[in-house]
C-alpha cells in the first residue's frame, strides 16, 4: 500500500466524483404527464383540444361539476330539493346571500380560459387555420357572460387574461347593456368563423355551430329588449330587432326543424331521451355517452334532489288551453291519478311522474311509483309520487356506483 496505490485510488475517486457531477440530471425538471404552455399552442389541433374543454361548461347534471346546471329550477318557486340546504333554501325561503357562488366562479374561470385561447391565437400566427376554434372561444365567452348576466345583471367585464396583481381583478361592474353588447359582439364575430349544422362531420356532432351562436344572440338580445321594455330603462327597439334578425337568420338557414317522431303526443317525451339525440330540433346540447361520459341524474332524482312544487303542477294548462283556475276541463285535486292529471297539457305527464307511471328497474323489471308512496310512511305522499321523470338523454351505466344506487332503497 504505497503511493502508486493511493494515486490509482485518487484517480478513481476523482473519476467517480466527476461521473457523479456530470451524470446527474440538473434541477430543471419538467412534468412527464403534462404539457408545458411554452410547447403548446403550436398547431390547430392543439387549439382544438383547448376548445374541447369549453364544452364542459355547458350545463349538465354532472355531480360535482360545479354549476349543477340542471338544478337551476331550484332557484325558483317551481321546484324544491333535498340535495343540499343551498339547493332547497331558495324555494323554501331560507336562502341567505352566499359568500361564494359556483355560477360566478365557474363563469369567470371559463372566461379566463377563452381569453387565454384568444390571446394565444393572436400570438400563434396560425391565422385562419384556427378560425373555427377562435369562433368557439368567442361563443363560449359569450355563453359564460350570458350565464352571469341572467343571474346578476351587469357584471365586471374581463376581456384579457389577468394575473394576481392585475388591477382589473378589482374592476367595477359594467352595465347590463354593456355586457349584452359584448355578448352580441362576440357572437357576431363568432358566426363567420363557425360552420353550419349540416357541415358538421359525424364525429363532430355536438360542436358549436353558426346556428348555436345565432340562437344565443337571439336569446340575449330578446332578454335585454324585454328587460328594457318592462323595466322602463330605455328603448327596446334595437335589441328586439337584433333578436328578430338573429332568429330569422337561424330559421332561414333551414338547418333545424321540430322533432316530430313518435307522434305529436309523444314527441316531447322522446326528444329528451335516447331517441331524440341529434334530432333536427337540437341546436346545442350537453352530451353524454354510456361508459364514456356519464351522469348520475337518475339517482339524484330518485333521491329527490329536485322535486316539483304545486305551483309548477298548476302552471300546466288544460287541454283547452286555459289555466286550471278557469278551465272547465280541470277535474280538481282529489286524486293524482283520476283527477289532477286529467285533461292537462300532455307535457305534464311527461315531466312529472304520476303514481301510476311505470319505470324500468336496472335488471329489466318494471315497477310502478305506486309502491313508493307506501314506502315512506313519514313523508307526505306527494314527495315521491311527484318525482321528476324523463331524466336523462342517455342511459347511465357507469359501473358499481350506479348499481349500488338502485338497490339502496332510500327515498325521501
Amino acid at each position: 500500500m504505497g503511493r502508486p496505490f493511493m494515486n490509482r485510488l485518487a484517480v478513481t475517486y476523482t473519476g467517480a466524483l466527476l461521473m457523479l457531477a456530470l451524470g446527474c440530471k440538473d434541477l430543471n425538471l419538467g412534468p412527464k404527464d403534462q404539457v408545458s404552455d411554452a410547447s403548446f399552442w403550436k398547431s390547430p389541433d392543439q387549439f382544438k383540444l383547448a376548445a374541447n374543454d369549453f364544452y364542459f361548461a355547458l350545463r349538465g347534471p354532472d355531480q360535482g361539476g360545479g354549476a349543477r346546471g340542471t338544478y337551476v329550477e331550484l332557484n325558483s318557486d317551481i321546484a324544491t330539493g333535498s340535495g343540499s340546504s343551498e339547493m332547497s333554501s331558495m324555494s323554501n325561503g331560507s336562502y341567505l346571500p352566499q359568500a361564494n357562488s359556483d355560477v360566478w366562479n365557474n363563469a369567470y374561470a371559463g372566461i379566463r380560459a377563452t381569453n387565454y385561447l384568444l390571446a394565444k391565437a393572436t400570438q400563434s400566427g396560425l391565422g385562419s387555420q384556427i378560425d373555427r376554434w377562435v369562433g368557439e372561444a368567442l361563443f363560449f365567452r359569450a355563453y359564460n357572460y350570458w350565464n352571469l348576466v341572467k343571474k346578476y345583471g351587469g357584471v365586471p367585464l374581463i376581456t384579457t387574461v389577468l394575473d394576481v396583481n392585475s388591477p382589473e381583478v378589482y374592476s367595477p361592474r359594467a352595465t347590463q347593456q354593456e355586457i349584452i353588447d359584448f355578448i352580441i359582439a362576440d357572437l357576431d364575430a363568432a358566426v363567420p368563423k363557425l360552420v353550419k349544422q349540416s357541415q358538421l362531420a359525424p364525429e363532430e356532432m355536438g360542436r358549436v355551430t353558426q346556428g348555436a351562436a345565432l340562437a344565443l344572440k337571439a336569446r340575449a338580445a330578446l332578454y335585454q329588449g324585454t328587460w328594457l321594455r318592462y323595466h322602463n330603462e330605455g328603448s327596446p327597439t334595437a335589441m328586439i330587432t337584433a333578436s328578430i334578425n338573429a332568429a330569422e337568420q337561424l330559421i332561414a338557414s333551414n338547418e333545424y326543424d321540430l322533432y316530430r317522431d313518435h307522434g305529436t303526443d309523444s314527441a316531447y317525451k322522446f326528444l329528451f331521451i335516447l331517441q331524440g339525440d341529434d334530432s333536427k330540433e337540437v341546436i346545442l346540447a350537453r352530451r353524454y355517452y354510456a361508459g364514456r361520459a356519464t351522469h348520475n341524474w337518475t339517482r339524484e332524482l330518485w333521491f329527490n334532489y329536485m322535486i316539483p312544487t304545486k305551483k309548477l303542477a298548476d302552471m300546466y294548462l288544460c287541454k283547452d288551453g286555459l289555466p286550471i283556475t278557469i278551465s272547465p276541463q280541470f277535474q280538481g285535486y282529489d286524486s293524482l291519478e283520476t283527477t289532477e292529471f286529467q285533461n292537462r297539457d300532455p307535457r305534464m305527464a311527461m315531466t312529472l311522474s304520476s303514481p301510476a307511471a311505470l319505470f324500468t328497474r336496472r335488471m329489466g323489471s318494471t315497477r310502478s311509483f305506486q309502491a313508493f308512496r307506501a314506502l315512506t310512511p313519514l313523508a307526505p305522499a306527494t314527495c315521491c309520487a311527484n318525482s321528476w321523470t324523463k331524466p336523462t338523454r342517455r342511459p347511465t351505466l357507469s359501473g358499481s356506483t350506479i348499481s349500488r344506487s338502485f338497490v339502496t332503497g332510500k327515498c325521501c
Partner: protein
C-alpha cells in the same frame, strides 16, 4: 494522492491544514529495529511501555525543519528547541557527529526524531518528570513481553459479551472480544498493569494483573448492565459522534426495542419507543396499516409533518425494512436535523442496519407464530335491540311503530319464518325475525408467522451480515384472502482494501405480496375493504343465506359481506423493492476521511384488481335478485408503477485535537438526490371466463388506459464544524445549502443554518467535588432552521396544460375527444417553508449510572408557511399559495430510566413522556370555518373541532316552551331533544356571528392532537427467565364522534350503534343522557357537532408483553448451539380507556377501519 479533487471545498481546506508527508509519520513498525522506539517510563513499573503516538500531543507537534548536512547533535538541538522538548542524552550513546539531512515542512516531532535517529540504536524514553531521555537500546528485546487473555461475560446472565473492548490502561494495547466473549492481548510488557473492559450498555470494570515474561495472564471480566442502554456511538447526519459529545436533541432506539416482538413492520415497533415520535395507524389490515409518523407535532398546515427517514445514510422507506436487520435508530429532533436542510422540517430518523464482526460465522434463527384476535369495533345491536330502537324512532317521528307487540315477540323468540315486509312488501322485501351476528360470521382469528435466518462474521479484511426473512400474515376476514406475505433479503458486506480504504455495501431486497378482496378493496369512505362497512352495518335481521342456501341479497342497499368475502376474486398488490447502497471510505491521512456514497432504490408496484360477477338471491325463491357486477361488466384493472430514487453523496471529515483540549471536527460535502416515477394502468370489461383473469381475455369494446409520472431532484452542499474544549464545552455548527427542482431557478436555493451548544457540567472541577452523584450532566441549547417543500407541487413555477383531466367529451356518436386546460396559475415567487426550531435540554446520568434522565423543551416556528391568497374570482383561477403565513408548535420530551439489581434479580424501568401543541398564527387572514372538524383556522391549532355547547335535554313542557322562544330552533323540537346554549345572548341559535367578529354560538371544543403521549418499559431478569412489558398511552386526547358513531339512525336503513341503546331519552327513561331516537329530521339537530359528541379518549395500552426462558448451555451444547431462548410475546394485549361502544383506542373517529388485533405469539431465538 498529490492532487485530490479540489472541488470538495472542505476537503481542500482539510488538506491545507495537514502536511502531505504526514502519511508516512506513523507508518513505521514499532518493533522495527532501525527506528527508535518511544517509551514511557513509569515509577511503578519495572519496564517502560510504548507510547501511543496518536495520543501524544508532544510527539504530534508540527515542526518545520531545514537540516542540510548538519550534525546529529545540532539536529537534535533544533528539534528540541522547536518542540520545547527537554531532550537528555549522553554523547557517548549517540553518533553525534553524524551528518543529517532533513528538509520538511510541518513534520511531526515523532517523525523528525524517527528520521534523524534511524539506525542510531537508541530509544526515546519519557520520564515522569517530563524529560525525554535517549537511552541505548538494550540487547535482545527491549521490553520483556507477555500476554493477557480471558473472557468477558455479563454479570446477570453469564452470557458472553462479544465486541467488548479490553485495554491495558496507559498503553494502546487493546483487543475486542469474539462471539464467545474471549480476547487475547499480545505483546504486553512485563509488569503490573491495570486492565479495563468496557462495552456499550455495561458499566466498565478494571482490575490489576501481573504479566510475566512469555506467560499468558488470565483476566476474566463480568460486566454489569448499565442503567440505560446508551449507544456509545450515535449516528448523526453524515458521521457519528460519541454520546457524550452530542449537542442536540437526539434520541436513539437500539435493536433491543425491536427484538422478539410479533411484528412484521418496523413502524409498529416504534410506537412509544422514542419520546416525541408519534406513530399512528389507521387500520389493522395486514400490509395496509397506513402508519403515520410524526416527530414533535405539526410544523406546517400544508403537509409533510413526517420526519425524513434515512437508512444507512440514504433516504428510504421503513415500511418494508425487516425489523430484525436494524441495529439502531437515531432521531434528530432539533437543530441537529438542519444538516438535512430542505427536507428535514420534521426532523430526521437515521436507521443503521446490522453489520458483521470479524469472527467465525454466527448463525441465528428466530421464529414467531401468532394468533390474532379482534380488539374493539363499533358495537351494533342485535335484531331485538334494533327493533326496539326502530319503534322508538318511529314513535318520536309521529309514525306508527312497525313492530307490533306480536312482531316484537317473534323477534324476541327468533321466529325462523319471515313475513312479507309490512311496508316494503311490494318491493319484494321480507321481514325476518332471526338474528344474524355479522361480526361473528365475517371475522375469525387471524394467524401470523415470521422466520428470520442470519449469518454474520468476517475475516481479516471483511465482515458480512446476511439475512433472510419470511413473514405471512393472514387477516381476520373469514373466507377472504386478505393476507400479506413478505420476503426480505439483506447482504451487508464491508471490505477493507487496506488500512485506509474501506468499502461498505448494503443490499436489500424486499418483496411484499398482499392480497385483498377483489372488486371491494378500499371504499372511498373507509380505508378498509368494503366488506368491513358491510360487516359493521349488516342488518342483524338479514340472513346470510336464503331458504335454499344461496347467498341472500341483503335488501335495503347493503350487500352481503359474507358473500363478498367468499365469492370475490383475489386482488393482488405486489411491491418489490431493491435497495443498493455502496460507500467507499478513504482515509488518506489519520483524521481525514473521504466518503463517497451512492444509494439507488428501485421500487415497483404491480397491482391487479378484479371485479368478479356473482349473484345474490331473493329469499322466497332462488331467483337472482342482483349481481355484484353485471355479468357482462366483470372487469380486471392492472396498475404498474416504478419509482427510481437515486442519491449520491460525497463528503470529507477531518478531525484533530489540538493541545490535547481543542477537539475540532470539520465535515463538508455535496449530495444529489433525484426521484423518478412512472406508472400506467389498463383495464378491460367483459371476461367470458371467471377463473382466469389475464388482461388479454377481456372484451375489447370497453377498455381503459392511463399513465403518468413525475420527477424531482434536490442538490445540496453541507458542512459542519464541531468544536469541543476540554470535553466540557461543545459546539456544533451546521450549514446546508439546498437547491430544489420544485422552484424557479432564482428561488431555488435556500440556506439552512444550525447551531447547538452543550456544557458538560459534570466535567467541571466543582461538579466533581459537589455533584459527585452525577456521572454525567449536560446542558444543551440549540437553534436550527430546516425546510419544508411538501405542500408544493412539483412544477408549480411552470405554466402547465393538463390534457384529458376532465375525461373525454363525447362528440359525434360516443367519440372520446381529449381536452386541454391550464393546470392552475403559476407560482413564480414560491419557495419553501422555513421552520426554525429552538431547543433547550439537559441529560443526566447519576447514581453509578443507574438513573438516566433527559428533558427537552422546544419551540418550532414555521416562519413563511404557504397560505392561500385572497383574490377576487374575477381572476378566473385560484391564486397560488404564497409564503405569507406562520405556524407555531411547542412542547417537551422527557424520559427517565432506572436499572438496578437485587440479589439475582435485575430490573429496569424507563418512562418517556412528550407533548406537542400548535397554533396556526397567520393563515393569510382567512377565517372561514365549518361545524365539526376544521383542518385550518387562523388562531387555532390544526384539526380544531367547532361545535355548539350542549345544554342538556329538554325534560318538560316548560323547558320546551322557553327554549322554543329562541330563533334558529327547529319547529318540530320536542321533549327529549337537545338544547344548545345561546352563547352570545342574541336570542338565536346561529352558526356564524351576525355581526362581523362574532362567532355565533359555535365555539372551539378541542382538537385532534394527542397530548402527553407516553411509553413505559419494564424489564425483569432472574436466572434464565426474563420478562418485559411495554405500555404505551396518550394522557389527554379528545375524540369527537363522527360519521356513524355520531348519530343513532343516521338513516333508517342503517342500524344505530349499540352504544345508544337504552341511553336515549324516552318516556320511560326521562333522565337518559342522549336525545331521543327519531327517524325524523330532528335527529340532525340533536346529534350535530356539539360538546355532546366530545369524548375523553385518553388511553393506556399494553403494547408488548414478553416472557422468555433461556435454555441451559449444557442442554443446547449437544446441538452446537451457543444460545437458545424461547418466549411468549403478546402485542396490544390490554388497554384502559373510557370510551364506550366498542372502540379501539387507535381507531379513527367515524368507526370504520379494518379492526385492530391482539397478537398472542410464541417464538424462539437460536444462535449457533
Amino acid at each position: 494522492m498529490n492532487r485530490l479533487p479540489s472541488f470538495l471545498v472542505m476537503l481542500a481546506l482539510a488538506l491545507a491544514l495537514f502536511p502531505r508527508t504526514a502519511a508516512a509519520q506513523y507508518g513505521g513498525d514499532p518493533s522495527d529495529s532501525r527506528a527508535p522506539r518511544f517509551l514511557l517510563a513509569m515509577a511503578e513499573r519495572r519496564a517502560p511501555v510504548p507510547v501511543d503516538l496518536k495520543r501524544s500531543w508532544v510527539l504530534r507537534q508540527p515542526l518545520s525543519l531545514a537540516l542540510d548536512g548538519v550534525t546529529l547533535k545540532e539536529a537534535l538541538a533544533e528539534i528540541s528547541r522547536q518542540a520545547r522538548l527537554n531532550l537528555v542524552y549522553a554523547d557517548d550513546d549517540l553518533p553525534i557527529a553524524a551528518t543529517v539531512n532533513l528538509r520538511a515542512d510541518r513534520i511531526t516531532v515523532a517523525a523528525a526524531l524517527t528520521d534523524v535517529l534511524l539506525d542510531a540504536g537508541v530509544d526515546v524514553v519519557f520520564t515522569p518528570d517530563g524529560r525525554a531521555t535517549l537511552v541505548k537500546r538494550p540487547d535482545g528485546p527491549a521490553v520483556q513481553l507477555g500476554s493477557i487473555a480471558g473472557r468477558v461475560t455479563a454479570t446477570e446472565t453469564g452470557a458472553p459479551l462479544p465486541r467488548a473492548i479490553v485495554s491495558v490502561t496507559g498503553t494502546r494495547l487493546t483487543a475486542e472480544t469474539d462471539t464467545a466473549g474471549r480476547y487475547v492481548i499480545g505483546s504486553v510488557p512485563v509488569g503490573t498493569h491495570r486492565v479495563r473492559a468496557r462495552m456499550l450498555g455495561y458499566t466498565p470494570a478494571d482490575t490489576s494483573v501481573v504479566v510475566a515474561e512469555g506467560q499468558e495472564a488470565v483476566v476474566n471480566f463480568q460486566l454489569k448492565a448499565q442503567a440505560i442502554e446508551l449507544e456509545a456511538v450515535v449516528a448523526v447526519g453524515y458521521g457519528e459522534k460519541r454520546r457524550e459529545d452530542l449537542t442536540g436533541a437526539v434520541g436513539t432506539v437500539s435493536s433491543q426495542a425491536l427484538e422478539s416482538r410479533p411484528i412484521t413492520n418496523t413502524l409498529s415497533a416504534l410506537q412509544g419507543a422514542l419520546p416525541g415520535l408519534i406513530v399512528q395507524r389507521s387500520g389493522g389490515q395486514p400490509g395496509v396499516e397506513d402508519f403515520d409518523l410524526n416527530l414533535r407535532g405539526v410544523s406546517s398546515a400544508n403537509g409533510g409533518n413526517t420526519p425524513l427517514v434515512l437508512i444507512d445514510g440514504v433516504p428510504g422507506n421503513l415500511d418494508l425494512l425487516n425489523p430484525a436487520d436494524i441495529e439502531s435508530i437515531t432521531a434528530l429532533k432539533d437543530a441537529a436535523a438542519s444538516i438535512y436542510g430542505a427536507r428535514a422540517a420534521d426532523g430526521a430518523l437515521l436507521v443503521t442496519t446490522r453489520r458483521g464482526t470479524r469472527t467465525a460465522p454466527v448463525f441465528t434463527y428466530s421464529n414467531n407464530t401468532a394468533v390474532t384476535k379482534l380488539t374493539g369495533m363499533m358495537d351494533t345491536p342485535n335484531n331485538y335491540q334494533m327493533a326496539v330502537m326502530d319503534n322508538e324512532a318511529n314513535i318520536h317521528a309521529g309514525a306508527a311503530p312497525m313492530y307490533t307487540p306480536d312482531l316484537l315477540n317473534r323477534v324476541r323468540i327468533g321466529d325462523p319464518t319471515p313475513i312479507p315486509h309490512p311496508i316494503y312488501a311490494s318491493s319484494g322485501w321480507m321481514l325476518f325475525f332471526t338474528n344474524t351476528d355479522w361480526r361473528k360470521a365475517l371475522f375469525e382469528d387471524g394467524f401470523e408467522q415470521k422466520h428470520t435466518v442470519s449469518v454474520s462474521g468476517g475475516g481479516d479484511n471483511s465482515t458480512y451480515y446476511v439475512s433472510a426473512a419470511y413473514s405471512d400474515q393472514n387477516g381476520v376476514i373469514r373466507y377472504a384472502n386478505d393476507n400479506n406475505r413478505r420476503y426480505q433479503l439483506r447482504l451487508n458486506y464491508d471490505y477493507d482494501f487496506s488500512r485506509r480504504v474501506r468499502l461498505e455495501t448494503r443490499l436489500g431486497v424486499e418483496n411484499q405480496d398482499r392480497s385483498d378482496i377483489g372488486g371491494f378493496t378500499h371504499g372511498s369512505w373507509c380505508s378498509c375493504p368494503w366488506v368491513i362497512v358491510e360487516g359493521i352495518f349488516g342488518m342483524p335481521n338479514h340472513p346470510i343465506y336464503t331458504e335454499s342456501g344461496q347467498h341472500f341479497f341483503a335488501q335495503g342497499g347493503w350487500g352481503n359481506a359474507v358473500a363478498q368475502a367468499k365469492e370475490a376474486a383475489t386482488a393482488t398488490f405486489v411491491t418489490r423493492n431493491v435497495n443498493t447502497n455502496f460507500k467507499l471510505i478513504v482515509e488518506p491521512l489519520d483524521g481525514l476521511k473521504l466518503n463517497l456514497q451512492s444509494g439507488i432504490d428501485y421500487r415497483t408496484e404491480d397491482n391487479t384488481d378484479i371485479g368478479k360477477s356473482f349473484p345474490y338471491y331473493q329469499w322466497n325463491d332462488s331467483n337472482i335478485a342482483y349481481y355484484s357486477t353485471n355479468p357482462d361488466q366483470n372487469w380486471v384493472g392492472r396498475y404498474n408503477g416504478t419509482t427510481v430514487h437515486r442519491n449520491y453523496v460525497g463528503y470529507a471529515q477531518f478531525s484533530r485535537t489540538f493541545a490535547d483540549r481543542h477537539a475540532v471536527e470539520l465535515m463538508g460535502g455535496v449530495s444529489h438526490e433525484d426521484d423518478d416515477v412512472d406508472w400506467f394502468q389498463a383495464g378491460r370489461y367483459n371476461f367470458p371466463n371467471q377463473d382466469v383473469w389475464g388482461l388479454n381475455l377481456g372484451g375489447t369494446g370497453n377498455t381503459w388506459t392511463g399513465g403518468g409520472g413525475s420527477q424531482w431532484a434536490i442538490r445540496s452542499l453541507f458542512s459542519r464544524l464541531s468544536y469541543g474544549f476540554n470535553n466540557k464545552y461543545l459546539l456544533d455548527a451546521t450549514l446546508r445549502y439546498d437547491g430544489s427542482s420544485r422552484f424557479r431557478p432564482d428561488k431555488r436555493w435556500g440556506l439552512f443554518p444550525g447551531v447547538s451548544l452543550a456544557w458538560r457540567i459534570s466535567e467541571e472541577p466543582f461538579a466533581r467535588r459537589h455533584l459527585s452523584t452525577f456521572d454525567d450532566l449536560k446542558l444543551r441549547v440549540s437553534y436550527g432552521e430546516t425546510g419544508n417543500q411538501e405542500g408544493i407541487n412539483l412544477y408549480d413555477y411552470l405554466q402547465l396544460i393538463t390534457i384529458g383531466g376532465r375525461g373525454p367529451y363525447p362528440f359525434g356518436t360516443g367519440g372520446q375527444d381529449q381536452s386541454a386546460y391550464l393546470s392552475g396559475m403559476v407560482a413564480k415567487d414560491r419557495t419553501w417553508e422555513t421552520i426554525a426550531t429552538t431547543n433547550v435540554g439537559w441529560d443526566a446520568t447519576l447514581l453509578s449510572s443507574r438513573l438516566n434522565v433527559t428533558f427537552d423543551y422546544f419551540v418550532k416556528r414555521n416562519k413563511d408557511m404557504l397560505v392561500p391568497i385572497n383574490a377576487p374570482a374575477l381572476l378566473g383561477a385560484t391564486p397560488p399559495f404564497a409564503n405569507a403565513g406562520s405556524l407555531k408548535a411547542w412542547g417537551f420530551e422527557t424520559s427517565v430510566g432506572w436499572r438496578g439489581a437485587l440479589r439475582g434479580l435485575s430490573y429496569s424501568a424507563r418512562i418517556s413522556l412528550s407533548d406537542a401543541q400548535n397554533k396556526v398564527v397567520n393563515y393569510g387572514g382567512q377565517d372561514t370555518y365549518v361545524l365539526g372538524y376544521n383542518y385550518v383556522r387562523q388562531g387555532y391549532p390544526v384539526n380544531t373541532y367547532f361545535g355548539y355547547v350542549f345544554d342538556g335535554l329538554i325534560r318538560n313542557q316548560a323547558e320546551l316552551d322557553a327554549y322554543k322562544l329562541l330563533g334558529g330552533v327547529p319547529s318540530d323540537i320536542g321533549i327529549g331533544d337537545a338544547r344548545y346554549k345561546d352563547l352570545n345572548g342574541d336570542g338565536k341559535i346561529s352558526l356564524y356571528g351576525d355581526n362581523p367578529g362574532q362567532d355565533g354560538d359555535v365555539v372551539n371544543l378541542g382538537n385532534l392532537a394527542p397530548r402527553y403521549t407516553y411509553g413505559l418499559n419494564l424489564t425483569l431478569a432472574w436466572k434464565r427467565f426474563d420478562l418485559g412489558t411495554f405500555f404505551q398511552g396518550v394522557g389527554k386526547r379528545t375524540l369527537f364522534r363522527e360519521g356513524d358513531y355520531r348519530m343513532p339512525w343516521s338513516d333508517w336503513w342503517r342500524q344505530p350503534p349499540l352504544f345508544y341503546y337504552g341511553q336515549t331519552w324516552n318516556e320511560d327513561r326521562p333522565n337518559a343522557p342522549y336525545p331521543r331516537l327519531s327517524h325524523g329530521d330532528i335527529r340532525f339537530w340533536n346529534y350535530q357537532p356539539s360538546s355532546l359528541q366530545k369524548v375523553d379518549a385518553a388511553y393506556l395500552r399494553l403494547k408488548n408483553l414478553q416472557v422468555g426462558f433461556t435454555l441451559p448451555e449444557r442442554l443446547i451444547a449437544k446441538a452446537r448451539m451457543t444460545h437458545a431462548r424461547v418466549y411468549f410475546s403478546g402485542f396490544d394485549l390490554w388497554e384502559k380507556h373510557s370510551v364506550k361502544g366498542g372502540w379501539d383506542p387507535e381507531s379513527i373517529a367515524n368507526g370504520f377501519n379494518y379492526p385492530f388485533q391482539r397478537l398472542y405469539s410464541f417464538g424462539m431465538d437460536i444462535t449457533f
